[in-house]
Amino acid sequence: DVKVTQSSRYLVKRTGEKVFLECVQDMDHENMFWYRQDPGLGLRLIYFSYDVKMKEKGDIPEGYSVSREKKERFSLILESASTNQTSMYLCASNRGHQETQYFGPGTRLLVL
């Protein structure tokens, strides 16, 4: 079974803090994705990566950056957290041109 894990299920941070969200997949997938999920807005793509050290902006990259130093790990970084970044963050991965994405359990981030 594909396994996608995220470093924290719940996280509370203060405005201005630097926040790291980690995602690891164990299926040697080339593609990895970061989404945020907000009520009424569905999942919105923040960034994705199709190879190590490669990244592309999604629909809402502002305020975020990413890092992919190893194939299995994709990190989302909030350089200076703000209250409007309070959300559920979901990581996903898939192989090559596969359609289906496999999701991690999500990290619920609260920024105070």
């Binding site: 989404y35 569905g42 359609e99 289906t100 999500g106």
Partner: protein, 113 residues
């Protein structure tokens, strides 16, 4: 701009009822339509549809795609409390270096005993 719209946004039914969830889309470079179920954890894959008129079925769940009218439906018969979840519709599009999914806002289904 690609758009995926789901309706209704929320639905409350009783066990044994049949429900129909709707997903319409306006996207360029359509490749596929996917349905996911999300309980209090990771969304899990239900179906992928690429051809019009061919029903996909898994137990009490079924789904069909109409590429002419640009919509899909997800049917759940004889609902159970375990069907309570958010149902997400996503459309696969070709964009840039990797295939992306554009998601709708989801339908929150609550099944009461």
């Amino acid at each position: 701009e690609d758009k995926v719209v789901q309706s209704p946004l929320s639905l409350v039914v009783h066990e044994g009822d049949t429900v129909t969830l709707n997903c319409s889309y306006e996207v360029t470079n359509f490749r596929s339509l996917l349905w996911y179920k999300q309980e209090k954890k990771a969304p899990t894959f239900l179906f992928m549809l690429t051809s019009s008129g061919i029903e996909k079925k898994s137990g009490r769940l079924s789904s069909i795609l109409d590429k002419k009218e640009l919509f899909s439906i997800l049917n759940i018969t004889a609902t159970q409390t375990g069907d309570s979840a958010i149902y997400l519709c996503a459309v696969g599009v070709s964009s840039g270096s990797a295939r992306q999914l554009t998601f709708g806002s989801g339908t929150q289904l609550t099944v009461l005993p």
